[in-house]
């Protein structure tokens, strides 16, 4: 009986959209005193519940603004839900934007260790993975160059190489497989498929229903912060394709 690795329980997230963004003390004080502190509630997610079991691959579909990235951020622990709870067991490697943990002035090699530490790994562990990271990213000649001089494709390759080398239990992919040239896309898909065989749990956000059908077993459809469909990847992709046609 596979154990649930991610449990999302009635999660709702509310953002305050101020009519004007207040970010200094003088304005805050004035508005407080003159009673003009308006709060405009925006519910990005409402009562979202689902579970993901170990080794499952869940696709998350939805139009822009449906709440997909917000959902991923909550699962990754970057945001706390306003209501409800999330339980996650295992190390998460979030590929929410490749190279997010990089420092631009640091070289590629130094950033490998920094990024690894950001996910909680020791220097020794990263050293053991160092060779495979260099090989996968094909950046051996540039590894001592500061990352600010890398092209975006190089940064993507490096970020992807590190995140997949550390063998996370849960992989979160936010449309990242659409980054990079065709050669890189083929390589990254192949790498992800090999991780499936090792039993990695995956949450995959995409607009590309072909990829979702190929890579995922289950899927959910988000519309305006609520789950409107859930089922096998094929079923939900069909519903999504229908919605796209209607627009």
């Amino acid at each position: 009986m596979p154990k649930p690795v991610i449990v999302v329980d009635n999660v709702s997230i509310m953002f305050n959209l101020h009519s004007e963004k207040i970010d200094n003390m003088k304005e805050y004080f004035i508005k407080l005193v003159t009673r003009k502190l308006h709060f405009n509630e925006f519910w990005a997610l409402t009562d979202v519940s689902f579970t993901v079991e170990q080794g499952e691959r869940l696709g998350v579909l939805g139009f822009n603004g449906a709440g997909k990235s917000t959902l991923l951020k909550v699962i990754a622990g970057v945001m706390k839900p306003t209501k409800g709870s999330i339980a996650v067991s295992g190390v998460i490697a979030p590929l929410l934007e490749l190279g997010a943990g990089f420092d631009m002035n640091y070289s590629g090699k130094e950033n490998i260790f920094l990024y690894g530490a950001t996910m909680g790994y020791s220097r020794k562990y990263i050293e053991s993975k160092y060779e495979s990271i260099i090989e996968f990213s094909e950046l051996r000649d540039f590894i001592d160059v500061p990352v600010k001089n890398y092209s975006s494709g190089m940064r993507a390759r490096l970020g992807f190489a590190i995140a997949t080398a550390v063998e996370p239990q849960i992989l979160i992919l936010d449309e990242v497989l659409s980054v990079g040239d065709a050669k890189f896309r083929v390589k990254s898909e192949a790498k992800i498929k090999s991780m499936f065989d090792k039993g990695v749990t995956v949450i995959f956000v995409s607009h590309n229903t072909d990829q979702v059908r190929r890579l995922c077993s289950k899927a959910i459809l988000l519309e305006k912060g609520k789950i409107t469909a859930r089922g096998t990847a094929a079923e939900v992709c069909d519903i999504y394709d229908e919605l796209v046609k209607k627009k």
């Binding site: 003088k26 951020k73 970057v78 929410l96 997010a100 943990g101 002035n105 950001t118």
Partner: protein, 270 residues
């Protein structure tokens, strides 16, 4: 619950190491003078201060023993405090891109920045060592090394605690109020003048109430303790110790409370 925080901190101890390492490396990487500057800057600024204020405040019969060393003690501590807290203040907002994508315990940023500035401070203490050696060998000054001299480490550690506390508080405030950075820059400038760095408190001949207000500055206690050990070679006044220690620990508690209450909201403002 506190145990959960310790476990979390333990898990991210590598990140703390890496960020400290990075700050120190990058500080010197592209500069020409590099590490030499950490040594030159206090030396040069002290020389300027001696020239400007030496006549007025630095007569050695005023009990100052040695004016350049008197200056340097205050200046080094002040410089550490002001640079460390300013960097800590900017550390969370500066790491917005990481915090928005990956979960990291956010107090790591001010903490790491203060530790790396502390390392820089320890390097700058070498200026003090050199200057004291110069005066003790080449002039007949009243400077002497006693058993109390090595106790300088105590005010140094209290200064570290103070920076951690204030740095944490400032870094949280900076997330929500952008103008705190400007306000604090001005505040540090004021602090330079109200801390007895280039003068002695007694020389100002202020009414008792003002004296009390100036003594409420924790840097006054820390610098006084530091001077006791290094300049005068005597034991410090224990009031200074308890006051500055208590103040610093209070700042740390407030900083931790602020982080605990507000860190979940950071992402909405970064």
């Amino acid at each position: 619950m506190l145990k959960k925080y310790f476990k979390n901190f333990y898990k991210y101890r590598f990140l703390l190491q890496e960020i400290v390492r990075k700050n120190i490396k990058l500080q010197y990487r592209d500069s020409v003078l590099g590490i030499l500057w950490t040594f030159l800057q206090p030396l040069l600024t002290t020389i300027i201060l001696v020239i400007v204020f030496g006549r007025v405040f630095g007569r050695s019969d005023d009990g100052v023993v040695n004016y350049p060393i008197y200056l340097l003690c205050g200046r080094l501590i002040y410089e550490f405090y002001s640079q460390a807290t300013k960097r800590a203040m900017r550390s969370v907002t500066g790491s917005a891109s990481v915090i928005k994508k990956v979960y990291v315990p956010k107090y790591i940023y001010p903490l790491a920045n203060i530790i790396s500035m502390f390392v820089t401070f320890l390097i700058s203490l070498s200026v003090l060592v050199c200057m004291m050696a110069y005066f003790m060998i080449f002039t007949d000054s009243q400077l002497r090394l006693t058993i109390f001299t090595p106790l300088f480490i105590v005010p140094v550690l209290i200064a570290l605690l103070l920076c951690v506390g204030v740095g944490m508080i400032l870094s949280v405030l900076a997330v929500f109020f952008k103008d705190i950075e400007y306000l604090y820059d001005v505040f540090c400038m004021l602090l330079f003048y109200i801390t007895p760095i280039f003068y002695q408190l007694g020389q100002l001949k202020l009414p008792k109430a003002f004296n009390m207000m100036l003594m409420a500055n924790p840097l006054y206690s820390i610098v006084s303790m530091f001077r006791s050990c290094v300049l005068f070679g005597e034991m410090w006044n224990w009031n200074w110790f308890w006051y500055s220690l208590g103040f610093s620990l209070l700042m740390i508690l407030i900083g931790m409370a602020l982080f605990y209450k507000k860190q979940d909201k950071f992402i909405l403002y970064l």
